[in-house]
Amino acid sequence: MTLEELLPGQQANIINVGGEGALRRRLLDMGLTPGTSLEMGKPAPSGDPLCIRIRSYVLSLRKADAAFVEIDSVTAAASPCGNCYGCSRNPRQEQGCKSRRGRRARRRGAL
């Protein structure tokens, strides 16, 4: 799968970076190299651009550019809601969500 399919709060490892020219060079220079783990953050209000946490900083990039980044299978966030990237939009979030929204959603049985 590719990076833009990752949901907020999910983690994955980079397998390959596609694209070409300046875009590809920039992605690699910013530390998106194969084998690096990253975590998806909450996107901008309109859903694009995305933001990811990688190599202990936060990087924003557009969906169209993120589509060039191939990633491996997804792991859920290590600490649910332990980071800024809330779990309210993450359907795979199962248990342990401590935010008010998450608790409410669990009570309703939405998750």
Binding site: N16, V17, G21, A22, L23, R24, R25, R26, L27, L28, D29, M30, G31, T33, P34, G35, T36, K42, A44, P45, S46, G47, D48, P49, C51, R55, S56, Y57, V58, L59, S60, L61, R62, D65, N83, C84, G86
Partner: protein, 695 residues
């Protein structure tokens, strides 16, 4: 001797520069504040010059700033590189660092933001890092002025000793072998071109066209290198760029895991703020509210109260000087020069100092906090509808302060189209020098709604910028959006030192302008408006040289309801500095700071005052801004096209505004419906553009 400051965007280079030189360069907490290189002597060591270069992430041949930095390092041969690192993001910072080490120039690394590392509970093993990188490291916190003197001492020592970095071995199999193979092949070529062989070989392995050219390689050599690269690619099952980036980051991961013990303290402030400030629903309202707050502080109660105090103070001073000059029996011409020329002209501009200072203060607090990068992030999808990148929002907001730094900041935008279009839009963002004009005229014609009128002018500027962007997107060939790959920096509490330095710098600039260029324009205008064609002193400016000149241009402005010869004269003087428009009007009418109101009331009717304000909003910015735009366009032809566009657009929009204002007197309902239709225009344009070329 030259010290080159190099580091990632937003790593604090300019703060280090200010600390090392005692200068007041503008800093901010968003990527790319420094766009052109600046230099100043090192404090305590006048034989050293510190050069602050734009922030970069790599030494790739794709971005203009990176090429500028590379060329500077190769051609100017600095005696020492001072690489500034944001230690909280050391991995990405070292990526640039080890490319610099390859250049084999004496080097010192400044580990900046150590205060934040301590807060996180992280620990840095300096000796371990020094040994692995082969370069001396100095821990500092530039914003708190910690470690700067040690940094200066170490940099001077390394430069004087010419201590080059130890040879780095980023041992990592095939990529390493390929670089060494290319090195042995091109060693002579590299030294002939004045490059470090390691650097040249690495760049050749990246198929860097600029280095291939610089080394004058023949076809055989190019082919041999290509074979080495292909062999490496086959062995690693990836291409050369990924292989080299991977090799560097593998080495960095090793260094970092050995040299840094990361604490568990996450930056909670940034996470919490981002949860609100980039929230799906709250982000845009908060942005609008913050901008409204900025303008309210500057033009609302706080700003106008301060301005009133200054105006009455100045009026009192003018009165005192006037009466004491009369008492002293000074020559009538000199008396007129001082009172009607200098005091009226410079005084009418000076009284707006509090507004401009407050506007700058608010904008620089926003810049320092790191919020601007979030604005770019949040606004990107909207900005793309206008055909520009979200990053363009930063220069556009800076344009509310001053067009000159804003135009210079467009250099960091990713594509040529982005830069051009943003340069066209920036003058539509009313700069702070236009505030005196808006303020003076709105206070006379709309005494109860002055704030509202000024707000509407700002909105009109934004509306026109939107219209321009959407209009240009109607062309199906408008190029695709350039990539938007930007770091979102950690929020930092604006440092009092940096904010007050920025503010003081701005106040000093403003005062300097008031007492140099505006004073000079004022004296020239005074001369032109108090002497006739035979160079005799005249009591009424209607007989003056300026009246004669102004009347020649006046017909152009007749359709806008601007009949008086003083208006074109004032607009022309505005080309030197926008504040001069109002000082010129004051001098020509023989008004003092306190009688400016009635004088203006006689010059305009309400509709023509609106037309004048709109014209001032849109017409060509000051000479300094035009020069800055010329530097960005790179030629005068495009600059002239922009100037002509601005003059025509200003006239046309002012004409429409004048017409609407006249219509308001006849039928307010008709006026409102026309304005409503105009407000719908962007939606229609957006709809059409979406059909031609979806975002």
């Amino acid at each position: 001797m030259i010290i080159a400051l190099i580091g990632n965007q937003n790593s604090g280079k300019t703060t280090v520069f200010n600390q090392m030189t005692g200068r007041n360069q503008k800093v901010g907490n968003f990527p790319g504040v420094t766009v052109s290189k600046k230099d100043a002597p090192l404090r305590g060591h006048p034989e050293f010059t510190v050069v602050d270069l734009p922030g970069i992430y790599s030494l790739s041949p794709y971005s203009a700033e990176e090429v500028v930095t590379r060329d500077f390092l190769i051609d100017e041969k600095p005696d020492v590189i001072l690489s500034v690192i944001d230690t909280t993001q050391i991995e990405r910072s070292l990526y640039l660092c080890i490319q610099l080490i390859e250049m084999n120039i004496p080097m010192v690394i400044a580990l900046n933001m150590m205060d934040e590392m301590r807060l996180q509970g992280s620990h840095v093993h300096i000796e371990e890092l020094t040994e692995r990188l082969g370069v001396p490291l100095v821990p500092i916190s530039a914003s708190k002025n910690e470690g700067i003197s040690e940094l200066i001492d170490e940099t001077v020592r390394v430069a004087k000793a010419g201590q080059k970095p130890a040879k780095l071995d980023l041992c990592s199999g095939p990529a390493h072998r390929a670089i060494h193979a290319i090195m042995s092949l091109t060693e002579e070529r590299a030294s002939a071109a004045g490059l470090s062989s390691r650097y040249a070989a690495t760049k050749l392995a990246e198929r860097d066209p600029l280095i291939q050219e610089r080394l004058n390689l023949n076809l055989n050599e190019l082919e041999a290198i290509e074979q080495i690269i292909v062999l490496m690619e086959e062995e690693l099952l990836t291409d050369n760029l990924a292989a080299l980036a991977n090799m560097r980051y593998c080495f960095i991961d090793e260094v970092v895991s050995a040299g840094i013990h990361k604490g568990s303290g996450e930056n909670l402030l940034t996470q919490r703020l981002d949860r609100v400030l980039t929230n799906r629903f709250a982000a845009i309202p908060i942005f609008i509210l913050l901008m409204a707050l900025v303008f309210w502080v500057a033009f609302g109660l706080p700003g106008s109260w301060l301005a009133d105090q200054l105006t009455s103070g100045m009026g009192w001073l003018t009165g005192r000087i006037d009466s004491s000059l009369t008492a002293a029996g000074l020559n009538i011409v000199l008396h007129s020069l001082i009172v009607d020329g200098v005091l009226a002209g410079v005084g009418s501009v000076l009284s707006f100092l509090p507004l401009i200072a407050l506007l700058y203060l608010m904008l620089s607090i926003l810049e320092d906090s790191g919020y601007m990068a979030r604005v770019a992030f949040v606004m990107d999808s909207w900005m793309r509808r206008l055909g520009i990148s979200g990053a363009a929002i930063v220069p556009l907001i800076m344009g509310f302060g001053c067009s000159v730094p804003a135009i210079m900041a467009t250099r960091t935008l990713p594509s040529k189209r982005d830069r051009r279009l943003t340069n066209y839009m920036i003058p539509f963002m009313s700069c702070s020098a236009k505030v005196p004009i808006y303020g003076a005229i709105a206070a006379v014609f709309f005494p109860d709604h002055a704030g509202l009128v000024i707000a509407l002018l700002y909105l009109l500027g934004i509306y026109l910028a939107v219209l321009l962007g959407l209009g240009l997107r109607q062309r199906p060939d408008s190029s695709k959006a350039a990539p938007f790959i930007m770091e979102l920096p950690t929020y930092r509490f604006p440092s009092f030192l940096s904010v007050s330095r920025n503010l003081w710098q701005k106040i000093r600039d403003f005062l300097r302008r008031a007492f140099t260029i505006i004073l000079a324009v004022t004296v020239i205008i005074w001369f032109l408006s108090h002497f006739n064609r035979n160079l005799n002193f005249v009591s009424s400016s209607d007989d003056s040289l300026l009246a004669w000149l102004g009347s020649a241009i006046a017909p152009v402005f007749n359709p806008l309801g601007l009949n008086d010869w003083r208006i074109p004269a004032a607009l022309i003087s505005g080309f030197t500095a926008k504040e001069a428009v109002i000082s010129t009007l004051a001098v020509m009418s023989g008004a003092t700071v306190e009688t400016l109101g009635p004088t203006l009331a006689a010059l305009f009717t309400t509709p023509s005052a609106i037309a004048f304000l709109v014209y001032v909003l849109i017409y060509t910015p000051c000479a300094a801004a035009v020069t800055a735009a010329r530097n960005e366009f790179g030629n005068w032809r495009d600059t002239w096209i922009m100037i002509i566009f601005q003059l025509l657009a200003a006239w046309a929009v002012a004409f429409i505004a004048y017409g609407l204002a006249l219509l308001w007197g006849i039928s307010s309902a008709a006026t409102i419906s026309i304005i409503a239709a105009m407000l719908l225009l962007p939606l229609v344009l957006n709809y059409r553009a979406q059909r031609i070329q979806p975002v």
